[in-house]
Every structure is written in C-alpha cells, then in structure tokens.
Symmetry: C2
Subunit: 160 residues, 2 copies
Amino acid sequence: MTVRLDAVDWKILDELQRDGRMTNVELSRRVGISAPPCLRRVRALEEEGIIEGYRALLDEKRLGYDLMAFAMVHLISQAEVDLDAFQERIAGWPLVRSAWMLSGDVDFLMLCVAPDLRTFQTFVLDITAAPNVRNVKTALTLKQSKDAPIVPLEAGLPKA
Amino acid sequence: MTVRLDAVDWKILDELQRDGRMTNVELSRRVGISAPPCLRRVRALEEEGIIEGYRALLDEKRLGYDLMAFAMVHLISQAEVDLDAFQERIAGWPLVRSAWMLSGDVDFLMLCVAPDLRTFQTFVLDITAAPNVRNVKTALTLKQSKDAPIVPLEAGLPKA
DNA sequence: AACGCAACGAAATAATATTGCGTCGGTTGC
DNA sequence: GCAACCGACGCAATATTATTTCGTTGCGTT
C-alpha cells in the first residue's frame, strides 16, 4: 500500500493545498502533464488516503465567532479508558474545533471558538465539571499569526 | 459589505466545510435549490470573504511528517514592534504550521510538524536562538483527537 | 393595485471531467 | 541484444458539470 511520490505528485499536493477547488485542467497545466493522467494521480492520492479530503476555509469572525481560545486540560486519571472517555466527551462539544492529546503536564489541548466571552466562560465551567477533570487553564488568542498548509513543500522535504 | 445569511447559505457553508470539492450540482441538490442560484450564492460567499478558500487535507504522516508538537514561546519584550518582528520570523519557519499570539504568560503558541524528533530538537534550538526569545517550552502531541471544521453548525449558532 | 427589487429556475451554451484506446519508454527475461 | 511486457502518457470522444441568459415569481413599497 505504499505509494511512491514523484516530483509531479508533490506538485499536485502543493497546488491542492493552496487551492483545493482548482479545476483539473488548470492543475494539469500547472504540474506540466495533460488532464487525464493528472486526474488519475489525484484519484490515486485520494484513494490511497494521502489526500484525506477537501475543506472550505471560512472566516469565523464574519460568522459570529469572535473569540478563539485554547483550553488546557489536566485530567485526574490518565488510564487509557479514561483518556478515551474524555476524547468522546470532546467529540460532543461543538465549540471545540481541534484537540490534541499531549505528552507532558497538560493532557489535552483544545482549540475552541465561541461567539463571545460569556459563552466561552460558561463552556469552561462545563469542561471543569466533566468527570475526571482536575483543572482547566485557558489562553485567549489575540491573533492568528500563521495558518499554513500541513506540508511545507518549500524546504526540508523528508522523503524527497 | 454585510451579508445576510439565510438557512440555505448556512447549509452551503456546512456542506462545503465537509467536502470542499463537492460539485455544484450535488451541492444544490443537498441544499434544496437549483444549480444556478446555488452557484451564485457560493460565488457571493467567496467574494464576500466568508469563504476564504479551499484546501486539500493531507495525511502528514504518510508524507513523512511523523511528529507534531507545540512550542510555547515567551518573549523578552512584548512591544508591538517586537511582536511583529517575531511574527515575521514565524512566517519564515517552514516547520511551523499554525501560530497564535496569546494573552497570558505564553506569548506565542506554535503548532509544528517535523519528520523526526531530531529535526524538531534542532528547530527548537533555532527558536531559542532567535532574537527576543526568553524561553521555549514544548509538548509533543500523542494524538489528534479532533479536527472539526471551524463553524459548529450543529448547535449554538450565533447569528441564526 | 402597480411598481421595483431580488432571487429563483428552465433552457441553452461553455467548460470541465472522465473514459477508451493507441503509443512510447524502460525493464525483464530469454 | 532483442522481444514481450508493464506502466504511464496523451489524444480524441463522451458524459457531466459550470455558467450564462432570460422570463417568472414572490414580496415589500409607494
């Protein structure tokens, strides 16, 4: 199930990271091959799972989510069952946009959005009240200073 | 420049968050209107800036980025000039995928990817050596436990 | 009650996606 | 070496989708 990626595949990934809705005709032009093999490569990358999907990026502030903040959660028990249980809980919280399980003194880091501070405060109380939670620390974001696609193709390719 | 979003617009945003490459025909079918007005709405949302763009989601592990970690940076000076300077520096670091300026004791939180631990360690040394950096704390991610689209449409709509 | 605005949808056209197939290296096996 | 084979390409044909055009409808205003 391993796929060898050549320079054209990397270019395809790079372009689709920047504009996931580019037409295949335009994409093929940019990567320097004709449309049919280009589309076949994209399909292969999708089926292989290297391209996991496509997403529209929205301006959350324009949609009424004025606040973005991190919540750092310490749990009481780090037993696998309890970690799984907390992940389940995270999945059910709509205000949590992304979450990571961490090594170190913080067990979970959650990136949250909310329409206002009050909503967020109420939500933090919910978190604190959840089972197995020892404490929650928060940090409001003042500004998103970078949001790059996942794969840094400009430099330092690992498997080039 | 203000746009009124009705239920159909929200549905469009919701669908495109889940699958940004859905055809307009399929999208129009799902939101319950015909293709032409559906496309007009999408274009309007794009031009209005509510849809900022489209991005392919890639499986970073399959591409050789086995490690994802957070770096929390304390600066020495929080003067605006110095904050801006540090943001410029972040922009030039390919391993930094996302970064936020925070309120509280951490000035910047950076989400980083790297092919391996050695590369990341070297990178952390680079950060530490940058001007105006007081210290850097890191936390490796063990698992991404959630990655939802930005706008939680299921519940708690702010401007519904 | 008529006007005007905004948005819709059917139909026509333009562009794109997708399939089928013949061709061209590059490799393998003899 | 040489021929069969494999994989990928690109052209051409077809299917699907995007986009434009335009007449109509619903609704708020005068």
